[in-house]
Symmetry: C2
Subunit: 157 residues, 2 copies
Amino acid sequence: MSKLSTELEQAFETVALRPTAQRYAVLEFLARHSVHATAEEIFLAVNRKDPRASRATVYNNLRSLEKAGLVREVSSQGKAARYDANLHRHHHFICEQCGKVEDISWFDLPVSAAGAVLAGRDVSNYEIVFRGACLGCLKTGAATAGSRPDNKSGGLL
Amino acid sequence: MSKLSTELEQAFETVALRPTAQRYAVLEFLARHSVHATAEEIFLAVNRKDPRASRATVYNNLRSLEKAGLVREVSSQGKAARYDANLHRHHHFICEQCGKVEDISWFDLPVSAAGAVLAGRDVSNYEIVFRGACLGCLKTGAATAGSRPDNKSGGLL
DNA sequence: TCGTTATTTAGATTTATTCTAAATATAGAT
DNA sequence: ATCTATATTTAGAATAAATCTAAATAACGA
């Protein structure tokens, strides 16, 4: 009866997806942990408690949840795809040192900024992906400044 | 002697990466084709002409080029990672119907928009990922409006 | 309850990526 | 030019990730 379970049930209702026990477990895990887990990690996690879900089911559900917009695949560095509950909009920050993917609070992109350049495409959603050094890595080691040829300046924002 | 070759050589110079024939071929392919190819596609493409590069070399070079900032992995739907030459900054548009990833001309994110929310992290780069229906799919079929629970409005920009 | 359709399952299969250790090429110093 | 230290390349084996299969089960509406 926690607030989360209500929210998850409503989410399933909204997108008209059958809330099977396995599918629910996948979404719940992602909603509870902002760690951006791989399919394998989700598989292991949901199988610690009942109900047990097979690997194929985890993959199936990640796809159906993604198609419904409740989950999204976040671009990560490394082979296995990482997933993220998408109940509330947010941006992402990827640490180039340690590879961690952090959530960044949502803010709207000013309309003026994007308009012209999208040329009539129908945008249903968007996110900003920041890259750099996270707070942890800044403390620990020396940050390597990004060095793309056409990035002359130091700080980018 | 084309303009591209000069640009590629300069790019290697800037980032202090050895411009081996194989590495050059990988970057050149990505720069010439904005198709956001997979490692396998690049492998096949660069081996149509000399020099031939092994699969492992393609992967090695994608990693070194990525670390140098000349290439980036673009988030795609599907298992194989897709890569993109990053000589000039640009944003991305992913079509939710057909899966195509398109480049969007660069524009700066207004400073005011992002500042507070990044909380001291050192941002060396960023990009915006738009999702929706591309022009081709808009013409062909019916566009499905995005339906996340907290997205009440129709158009997003 | 019944019938229809979606979902789940375990395991095999396919596909993607990394690893290995020896051979080669590169850049800089002599 | 030659030498040396280091980075890169290679083919193929090994690992890891994701998908497929066909039969069994669960969900939903009538």
